[in-house]
């Protein structure tokens, strides 16, 4: 255990009574950011669920300072903010908290620019795999076959490999995480905070409203995504790839739970045909093949 839950101060890591839907994974994620980075975190939030989650002026529902910003500008606003705070001798940890749309689609250009320049902040993509804030429309991070309000017959595309795209910028730190694995996420946040330069964490965040599951199952589904191998926990540190538990044991496919256990709980996959399921499995297999190939090349497998 990387940290002792009971040792954490009993404070509001997220404000009760904010505007998040019941069972919201973003609220859970924001709690962990606050737990990991304490008083030092300053958030930059582009348009997305978290613009709403904060609730209504004159209150705001997170425990951290927040600079809200237009959709495509999170990484660039964070660049300026982090530079100014450094110039003023402050050691704030600037954190972009952006959804999959704000990261992989409309915000990708600014993200790439900031990564290439090596700006000093942590970029977290909280990935609920569709545009949930506007009402469950497909994003480029929606998995194959998933129903959304703009893919009634299932998403014909496949999920963009965003962590790899960011890693290709050769930034010092890229990691995946899940709201179902707080210890892993928190230790990754702490590690990212200790590194100077551009850090990227891709946080898997199952959304009960958009994925059509019972809000009580948010954490369980997040864990199933990892246990079935659909979401892989890893980190790239200075170009070296490392699998994190429990994904490290799942290199062996026989150790993974069947994908169906993850799929069957979600209404968005209800109409999945056998062919779609095969396609989805193939996609996941490909992700694993890529990772194991790198691990082999590194001599770690």
């Amino acid at each position: 255990m990387a940290f002792n839950i009971k040792a954490l101060p009993k404070k509001n890591y997220i404000m009760p009574g904010n505007a998040a839907c019941p069972g919201c994974p973003e609220n859970i994620g924001l709690k962990f950011v606050s737990m990991a980075l304490g008083e030092k975190a300053t958030l930059v939030v582009p348009a997305g669920c978290t613009s709403v989650i904060q609730g209504l002026w004159p209150r705001q529902g997170t425990s951290m300072p927040v600079l809200n910003i237009v959709f495509a500008a999170a990484a660039s606003a964070a660049s300026g903010l982090s530079r100014a705070l450094r110039i003023r001798g402050k050691d704030d940890i600037v954190v972009v908290w952006a959804g999959d749309g704000g990261t992989a689609d409309i915000g990708l250009q600014a993200l790439s620019g900031a990564a290439e320049r090596g700006e000093d902040f942590i970029y977290i993509c909280v990935d609920n795999e569709a545009y949930m804030n506007t009402g469950i429309q497909r994003s480029s991070l929606t998995p194959h076959g998933a129903w959304t309000t703009t893919t009634h017959r299932g998403n014909p595309g496949r999920k963009k490999p965003l962590p790899q795209i960011v890693a290709a910028h050769r930034v010092p730190y890229v990691a995946t995480a899940s709201i179902g694995y707080p210890w892993d996420f928190i230790s990754k946040l702490k590690k990212a905070a200790s590194i100077k330069g551009f850090k990227y964490i891709h946080l898997h965040a199952p959304c009960p409203v958009g994925w059509r599951f019972d809000p009580g199952l948010t954490v369980k589904i997040a864990q199933l995504a990892v246990e079935t191998g659909a979401w892989i926990l890893y980190e790239h540190e200075n170009g070296k790839l490392k699998l994190n538990p429990p994904s490290n044991k799942l290199v062996d496919p026989s150790k993974r739970k069947p994908l169906e256990e993850y799929i069957k709980l979600q209404g968005r996959f209800r109409h999945l045909t056998d062919r779609d399921l095969e396609e989805l499995k193939k996609e996941i297999e490909e992700n694993w093949r890529e990772i194991t190939a790198i691990l082999r090349a590194q001599g770690d497998l």
Partner: protein, 432 residues
């Protein structure tokens, strides 16, 4: 003591250096001690960015340049730095300004001071890199203060002044300094560069209403109820009006220090006793002044009223100088399609269309307009007024020496070349 006080207000001459308008802006930014500059190159703004980077590289300017990947990011990064508590600057033109348009609104609404230079240029399609005012005038409603320079000296002075005005607690709105593409940006003029000590005396340390940083869990910009939103908007409106007074104060003080007084939101050239008045913005108002002299020699009492500030709008000055004139000629370097020039529409509403008014559209897309053209325009309007008594012509196009009233009906614009039409016809007839 009295002597000391006098000495403090004595004009201190700077160094006269020949430089391009863009360089004048760059020096102003350096003298204003901006700490972060984020910009994306676009013709004709590029020299500003290049010069600032050169000044930083030589160690003459203590700032960081953020080499962003777009104008959208340029303003967002500039804004981020400003929210973080440092003086920040960006510059752009035309399409660059269009690309950052939504960010303009966000910056103004957050009430954090930021300064930007807009080097005016036509907006495509088709491509045209020459002067036009469509870009800068599109910022009219965003909540930014907007000033337009007539020459390179003013480009420098207004930039320094803009930092002071925007950072004044009575204002706390961002500001744009406009200068005409190529005519100023790439043209060398002698510019008096004030000493650093003088600028330090004029420009107090950075002030801003708040910062977003650790220590205070404050959110900027989360959802606000409609009624509060409306109040917030009206508060911006009040501050914009209050900015008038701040500009006058700052302009007067700048005058005491440098000998160049900017207390007026307008510049009045022989307009008090004039029968006819030119009104306009930007560099060609310099030509209008020469035209005024030429016309006066011909016995026509003309004057020129240049709007140095577009927002806040110099309503009082316009009415003071404009209401009693025989005719007011508004020169517009852009058009609001289907209606008239944007400056004409603004001026006409301030003057309640009381005097005879003619809105002249000219110089769009960099078409050259010199003082002789302006004399010609004046004589045309005078003959119209003498013939008809009172006239109100919102849009009169002056193009290569000819006048075209923009009434409904065919216009002498160039049509698509015949051979292109023929080609298109052939293509579509084959398809059907």
């Amino acid at each position: 003591m009295a002597l000391e006080a006098e000495e403090k207000t004595r004009v201190r001459r700077g160094t006269i250096v020949p430089m391009r308008g863009n360089e004048a802006v760059a020096y102003a930014v350096k003298l204003s001690r901006a700490r972060v500059v984020a910009a994306y190159p676009i013709t004709p703004q590029t020299i500003i960015v290049e010069k600032i980077d050169e000044l930083i590289s030589k160690g003459e300017m203590d700032a960081e340049m953020i080499h962003v990947e777009s104008e959208h990011s340029a303003l967002a990064a500039t804004y981020g730095a400003a929210v973080g508590g440092v003086r920040a600057f960006t510059a752009t033109s035309s399409h660059g300004l269009m690309y950052m348009y939504e960010v303009l609104w966000w910056v103004a609404g957050s009430r954090v001071p930021v300064v930007m230079a807009v080097v005016t240029r036509a907006i495509g399609a088709p491509w045209n890199i020459h002067v036009e005012h469509s870009d800068i005038l599109s910022t009219r409603d965003t909540g930014w203060l907007v000033a337009m320079a007539e020459n390179n000296q003013e480009a420098l002075d207004l930039t320094v002044m803009m930092f002071r005005v925007t950072e004044d607690p009575r204002v706390y709105l961002p500001g744009i300094v406009g200068l005409d593409g190529f005519i100023l940006s790439h043209t060398v003029e002698p510019v008096e560069v004030p000493d650093q000590e003088l600028v330090d005396e004029f420009l107090p340390p950075r002030r801003q209403p708040y910062t977003i940083e650790s220590g205070a869990p404050i959110a900027m910009g989360n959802i606000i109820p409609d009624e509060a939103f409306e109040e917030h908007r009206m508060d911006m409106h009040e501050s914009m009006r209050e900015a008038r007074r701040v500009i006058e104060e700052a302009g007067r003080e700048y005058g005491k220090l440098t000998g160049r007084d900017y207390s007026g939101l307008v510049e009045c050239y022989k307009c008090s006793d004039a029968d006819y008045l030119f009104v306009g913005i930007g560099s060609w108002m310099g030509d209008a002044k020469i035209a005024v002299d030429a016309l006066r020699e011909k016995g026509l009492r003309f004057g020129a009223l240049r709007l140095r500030w577009i927002r806040p709008f110099p309503w009082d000055e316009l009415r003071e100088y404009g209401l009693e004139k025989k005719a007011v000629i508004v020169l517009d370097r852009s058009i609001s399609f289907g209606y008239a020039g944007p400056v004409f529409l603004e001026v006409s509403s301030a003057l309640e269309a009381k005097p005879s008014m003619v809105g002249v559209l000219a110089g769009v897309g960099g078409v050259d307009v010199n003082y002789e053209d302006i004399v010609k325009i004046a004589e045309h309007v005078v003959s119209l007024v003498e013939e008809k008594g009172r006239v109100y012509v919102p849009a009169l196009w002056y193009h290569l020496g000819e006048f075209y009233p923009m009434k409904p009906g065919p216009l002498p614009t160039r049509k698509t070349p015949r051979h292109v039409n023929k080609l298109l016809e052939e293509l579509w007839s084959k398809k059907s």
